[in-house]
Symmetry: C2
């Protein structure tokens, strides 16, 4: 299958590496045509790794993964082009982190809106699924880094798109039963609002190799 | 020991019941002297159960639990009186939930502030510890309702106060190792921002008998 990964940071490259390792074709998209990181990534990725602009990538991919920072995701996806996103599953992995000059973390949007919702509103033809924004990139593609059973979450208005994303997560190594469906895309709000807590846990644990696991009464 | 529980709702009554069952003396505080719910609670609680105003309760308790809605906590604690809170451990259990006319949930304060921080700022002599706001009241006082190991969190600027709260949580049935220290009171922000996610999970699971459990690499 052909995937577009929008964003050349650590999350984007980790997802792109995993997709290539699984035998898929991947184009890593960046703002400019010859972004140094995207070129370097494609060179080491082998024949199934490609690079291009956001628009090139979105045109190439049958499925699009948004791995940009949530504060610039709309701009990146506008550059990708609404027509190239129409009808496609768009997995939104972003978190809208804002760091103040003092290093204090906040989110924007937050509370009454989310990046997932912003994207779905602006690109109504895209089949947006919020997923994978609740844990570190290495664990996203290698759940075995964390022992035992632990959970991922999906939110989106298109049930078929969510089912496709759950299949992709199974390819990444996540048992189907580990993925909890939180409902419509407005649930992206609660998923994005986890980030400050996640960062506090990272500081408490001294590692990014941890994840949510929900215990509940049967 | 003598406890003040500020707030007569389900959370306050559940905590008050548990404290009485553990042999403590409890005064349930409300805005007015003869609040119907507080009187009824004290009558069924036996000789160790008392009722009074917020100020009566804060004067009575050696430890104060804030179980009011987070949107009115500051007003309730102002009525309790800064002098009656000074030097005492103040456990802030609140969440600042706001429901719009359409039933949509948001938080206020959020993102760049929290109820826990507001309380600590306004009552600098109180030893504020954010705790227990991350799960349902029945599970707060009976962790065995949820199978296996699962976690609570504390945040506060006073290490001694946090240690006292961890002891209290152990009385409630929580193993000491189940309580994760998230650092200073500013971490109340991340804890309060969990609530939209918790509500989504409640809808997905169809029960409030669930809780966070963190899996991590050793």
């Amino acid at each position: 299958m052909r995937f577009a990964v929008i964003g050349t940071g650590m999350v984007g490259q980790t997802l792109a590496d995993k997709l290539v390792a699984l035998g898929h074709e991947v184009m890593l998209g960046s703002r400019t045509k010859d972004n140094e990181k995207a070129v370097a990534w494609a060179e080491q990725a082998g024949p199934n790794g490609h690079h291009g602009t956001f628009a090139d990538a979105a045109g190439f991919g049958e499925v699009v993964l948004n791995a940009t920072s949530g504060t610039v995701s709309l701009a990146a996806l506008r550059a990708a082009g609404a027509d190239r996103l129409a009808g496609k599953v768009l997995v939104d992995v972003s978190n809208p982190l804002v760091f103040s000059a003092e290093g204090e973390l906040s989110l924007n949007p937050v509370n009454t809106d989310s990046v997932g919702e912003q994207i779905q509103r602006e690109f109504p033809q895209a089949r947006v699924v919020k997923a994978l924004n609740t844990l570190s990139a290495p664990v996203m593609v290698d759940p075995g880094r964390v022992p035992g059973e632990h959970n991922l979450f999906v939110a989106g208005d298109d049930a078929g798109a969510k089912a496709e994303v759950v299949s992709l997560l199974q390819e990444f190594g996540w048992p189907a039963g580990s993925v909890i469906d939180l409902g419509g895309i407005s649930s992206a709000r609660g998923m994005e609002m986890l980030m400050p807590f996640w960062i506090q846990l990272m500081r408490a644990f001294g590692t990014t190799d941890f994840n949510y696991s929900f215990k509940r009464a049967e």
